[in-house]
Symmetry: none
Subunit: 206 residues, 4 copies
């Protein structure tokens, strides 16, 4: 009864989010209009305001949805693992896959938080959650003596940033193949960069 109505409402909300995502793959964040979204989602423009307070909220929701999914993937495929090295590999792989499904994210991330965009705290929370998840992986690796002992925060931020860089490479220069040797090479480089006894032999020997 009530439940079904509620479920339907949620379904329509989702379909608007989906339409927006599709648009994000086609054109730049700020040049997407409510008209675009209305057309793509097959709702009247005014109807969208029954599901989202305003454009900013809608956009927040779109981004949140993505990051939520990603956070869940990280939890599932990285945190439970015993081997820290493999966990990091998986983490990077998740970033790669992610970019594959949401190629517009790097563009948008680069401009968020930007002035005038009232990201709800939820979005920022999610970003921090992802960071904490990554930190947890690294910390475990350090505890087990697998990873180098640099400052945890620094290391986390670095991995995060390097990933963005690689991901930018992926989204710009590679079309589809996540299994290509280039991917493997990049993953290796990052992993080695933080594993004791591989790329940091020199450091160690000092």
């Amino acid at each position: 009864m009530r439940a079904r109505v509620e479920r339907e409402r949620e379904f329509r909300r989702e379909s608007i989010i989906k339409a927006t995502e599709e648009l994000l793959n086609e054109k730049a964040f700020e040049s997407i209009t409510m008209d675009d979204i209305a057309e793509k989602s097959d709702f009247a423009k005014a109807s969208i305001y029954q599901y989202f307070k305003n454009k900013d909220e809608l956009m927040s929701e779109v981004f949140s949805k993505c990051m939520e999914t990603q956070c869940n993937s990280i939890k599932e495929r990285c945190l439970s693992l015993t081997a820290p090295e493999q966990a990091i590999r998986n983490y990077i792989m998740i970033e790669f896959e992610f970019i594959h499904q949401h190629p517009w994210v790097p563009k948008v991330s680069a401009t968020i938080p930007f002035e005038g965009f009232n990201a709800e705290s939820r979005l920022i929370d999610l970003y921090n959650q992802k960071k904490r998840l990554l930190a947890a992986i690294i910390q475990r690796g350090q505890a087990e003596g697998t990873f180098i002992e640099s400052d945890l925060v620094v290391l986390t931020n670095m991995i995060l940033s390097v990933s963005i860089g690689f991901v930018s490479y992926i989204s710009t220069h590679m079309s589809a193949d996540l299994k290509s040797p280039v991917t493997e090479m990049m993953i290796s480089t990052i992993t080695k960069g933080m594993t004791r006894g591989s790329s940091n032999e020199s450091n160690r020997s000092k």
Copy 2:
């Protein structure tokens, strides 16, 4: 006589570009209005159109100016060097310094070329020039046997992308200090990643 007038005109042009650059540090590319620029540059809005045909041209000019400067730096500080490893270090350092002076660039780069923005070919040319310069550095390193022998194009794109990642790190997490150990660490990581006999021992041994 003529010369002075010309110089003054150029000076005013520059000051508009400068004002725009400052705005780019404050807000996103597409939400900067001609009114903003007018106010910041202390001209009447209409006056700006005496120096730039339209908003796009002005923006193009701002970007071009930056990339030109950067290309020149690369030429000066990387190409003449004998040691390829040092050249690469310098290249990365230039990227770092650059981001220091133009923190808005990564945000903008991530969204350019974006739909609807008619970047003049000059902008694209400059981007390609930078790529060619980097390729030249790498090629020399490969020729001398210093760098790993992966495909030149792949390697170039990778360095470019990784730099963007690091640079994104810098712009997000570090305030000012280019001399911090973190910077050094990042540079090392990249450099090692492409130098024979260090991070790629394993590859070599294969």
Copy 3:
């Protein structure tokens, strides 16, 4: 249901067209602004863009509407007639009446097609249709031996032009009375000019 909404929309569209027409009686085509139209039609400026893509389209529509009406009048009151002489008289009378209701037309016609105005082909089509209708009248008159045998195209264009001249007279010098002897005199002059055996006795005798 659907039909009423549709009808109402059409009604509002018409009312904008009407407001524009009224303005055309007050000031020149190019100095009418969208603000003028908005005020006259009692819509917000932005609303007008829901009914017409842009100013040019609106203007085209206004012109087309007029010419369409005129073409229909010609069809009704000239083509079915048996006597060619009467048909021509009616044609001229229609031009007179037309100018009475749309005094701005000669001013606008004189400047259309003018540079920068993207008249849709529809407008040009209508103009040509009117020409063809007139030609048909004349041709019949020639076939029946009533009209002089000059080249059809030349004759058509001439009548068209002379009408413009007379109409310009009407719109400049006469206030309202279409039944004045002057009108009759002008109609006679034109009609005689093209009827065999009246003004062209001399030609005939050659």
Copy 4:
């Protein structure tokens, strides 16, 4: 001394007028900008304001110049003639020639006086002068019994208007040849229309 300066000033004034005239042949009256005129006349835009108070004055001057010339022609070639019929023929011929040299005039005339254009009284005076000249020709013809005896004012306005019509034909459909039989035919039609004993035999006999 002074005189030469004065003469030079006049010369430059003329050259601006000439440039404007040329532009009038290229594009519509209201879309000609002071920038256009500046470029065409090889003056700086600001300089034009040293010769003409504003755009309207400049335009007035251009039109006046033309009409002045035409009035002079009429005086020379029509008023001195003894035969009224020939005088009218010449008058029409002058209109034709005029349109040949200033094809933009009909377009402009059709929109003058238009709102917002402050034609100085001089322009209107000239227009009235032309009218008086034509009236004088007709009056003489009537006095001598050559022309029909309709009301002088009406007849004058008619001729004026019909000329505009023919001239519109000329400017639209004929390229260059003023000597074509069509021209002759049109002149004949008008002349006959107002000469006793030709096209108006029927009237007379009534």
